[in-house]
């Protein structure tokens, strides 16, 4: 039965991939690889380069993960290892409620508070507005925090209590036990939590759309420059979620360019899932041992 559903899922994925490739063919024919590496997107001039959106997506995602991972995993460690048992369930239930809040609500909160905080807090950097890649990254970090935390907590709970007890019996401190037993044995679950969160980050549209600034062609002068973080930008999803998609529908090349963005998004998400699966398939003993 599971084989049937796996085959069905694979069929739909391939169908989607085929559809996106087919629909985006005109832009690949016109621009080739320059569609991915091109720095300019001017649809009136029929110039389609998606690099700025790929850059925006990567920066926002990375930022969200960098902010959410330590806080989420730290919070999970706190609830699993330190918080008294009677407090764990209420805390976990509250966190899971946060995970269910619709993204548009987060987006509105972003407009209401976060955008202003970023603008006021970083005024010394001469910000033009609070709609920046940084704002989107922070907002996404807040959005995925409950997912990271609750899944990390689940992963930590898969470590048998006897292991922690044995480590404490050997004189390891609580912190050492948390790191060398709990974290070391549940890191694959943590990676899984982060990948799931990354999936949400990459696919998130409306919240990002509301605070990212949606400025086309926002690329840094130097790839190592942090300046673009505090400037407006564009992600693949914010582009696809904007009004340009309606304009594009009447123009085959423009439409192909927009569908091409969806194809890129699909490939990135599939790539991350594939990477995650490879990590997951590694034998537990090997992966744990590799940390020691």
């Amino acid at each position: 039965m599971s084989f049937f559903f796996t085959a069905l899922a694979a069929f739909f994925l391939l169908l989607m991939l085929f559809l996106f490739v087919w629909q985006s063919l005109p832009v690949w024919r016109q621009s080739g690889l320059a569609y991915v590496t091109g720095e300019s997107w001017y649809f009136r001039q029929q110039e389609f380069g998606a690099l700025a959106m790929i850059y925006g997506t990567l920066v926002v995602s990375l930022l969200a993960l960098l902010l959410a991972a330590p806080v989420g995993i730290g919070a999970a460690l706190f609830t699993a290892e330190i918080l008294p048992r009677r407090w764990r369930l209420p805390v976990k239930a509250a966190v899971e409620l946060l995970a269910g809040v619709p993204s548009v609500v987060y987006g509105l909160l972003g407009i209401l508070f976060l955008r202003n905080w970023v603008y006021d807090g970083l005024q010394y950097l001469d910000l033009l507005s609070g709609d920046t890649l940084l704002t989107a990254g922070i907002l996404l970090a807040l959005m995925i925090l409950p997912t990271v935390m609750t899944l990390s907590d689940d992963a930590l709970r898969t470590v048998p209590a006897a292991q922690g007890r044995a480590a404490r019996g050997l004189g390891l401190t609580r912190a050492e036990t948390a790191i060398w037993v709990s974290l070391a044995q549940s890191w694959r679950g943590m990676v899984s939590a982060l990948l799931l969160a990354l999936g949400r980050v990459l696919g998130e549209t409306i919240a990002v759309f509301l605070v990212v600034g949606r400025r086309d062609n926002a690329l840094p002068e130097s790839w190592l420059s942090l300046r673009p973080l505090v400037e407006a930008g564009q992600t693949l999803t914010s582009k696809l979620g904007g009004s340009e998609i309606n304009i594009a529908y009447g123009d085959p090349l423009h439409w192909a360019a927009m569908v091409g963005l969806a194809l890129l998004l699909l490939i990135v998400v599939a790539g991350i899932t594939w990477l995650g699966n490879i990590l997951m398939r590694r034998k537990e003993g090997e992966s744990y041992a590799s940390l020691h």
Binding site: P160, A162, A166, R168, G169, G171, W180, V181, G285, Y288
Partner: protein, 277 residues
Amino acid sequence: MIETKSKGQSDPSETRTCILETRQLKVYAGKQVLLQGIDLGISEGEVFGLIGPSGAGKSTLLRCLNRLIDLDQGLRVEGAVLFHGQSVRGRAMDVDELRVRVGMLFQQPVVFPLSILKNVIFGVRHQRKIARRDRLLVAEKALREAALWQEVKDRLQTPALKLSVGQQQRLCLARTLAMEPEIILMDEPTSALDPKSTQAIDDLIMELKKKRTIVLVTHHLNQARRLCDRVAFISAKSGEGGRIACMGETETVMSRTDLAELSDFVGCEQGVTCCES
């Protein structure tokens, strides 16, 4: 400080210093009493047995001795546990250091999903800095002491989980021994093992008692007879906490007939009689 006589000494009148003792030790789980007023002293170099029926609180008492009981939420401990005369519950006591000096072997072997070598040095490498080249020496010494070296010397990098349960238990003992504890607390270490592995652990305890102090929780009276210098019989009437019904040299305790609970326990073990009460 209590001084006790120990079996197997050349001079029966020779006394040994008590290194671990409890005074009016009580453990509660909410309002329920788990242990009531435990007073005992364990001398250096002896094997001290804790015997008694299931649920009497033997393991609870054992966990009090190195404060592993602290990990059990909802339990309250009163009274004193003294290690070398110093309260283990005092602020001055470093509990992690205490657990290094008072090691523990659990009922079920708990090996980490690591290689045999890494399991042996798991605790010691967190306790002190040891050079990479010295790790093997530390492991070899501990594995030899745990009589496991000959069986694993050619496969130290093999996952420890591939060992038999008996070997895993000896590996856990090696891991504890690598810490060079003064006292080893053993909580029914052979209850999950087959007779051959049990024999191997028993032989090990006989060997270890030459150098270390051992507190052994066991259900098996034959094991207690073979290994223990002294035993404490812990009994618990329903609704009351465990208490020491009698304590002394092993044979003296075992041969007592004036204590109904002990007679019942010994009778059950020997298959002579088994009373409901």
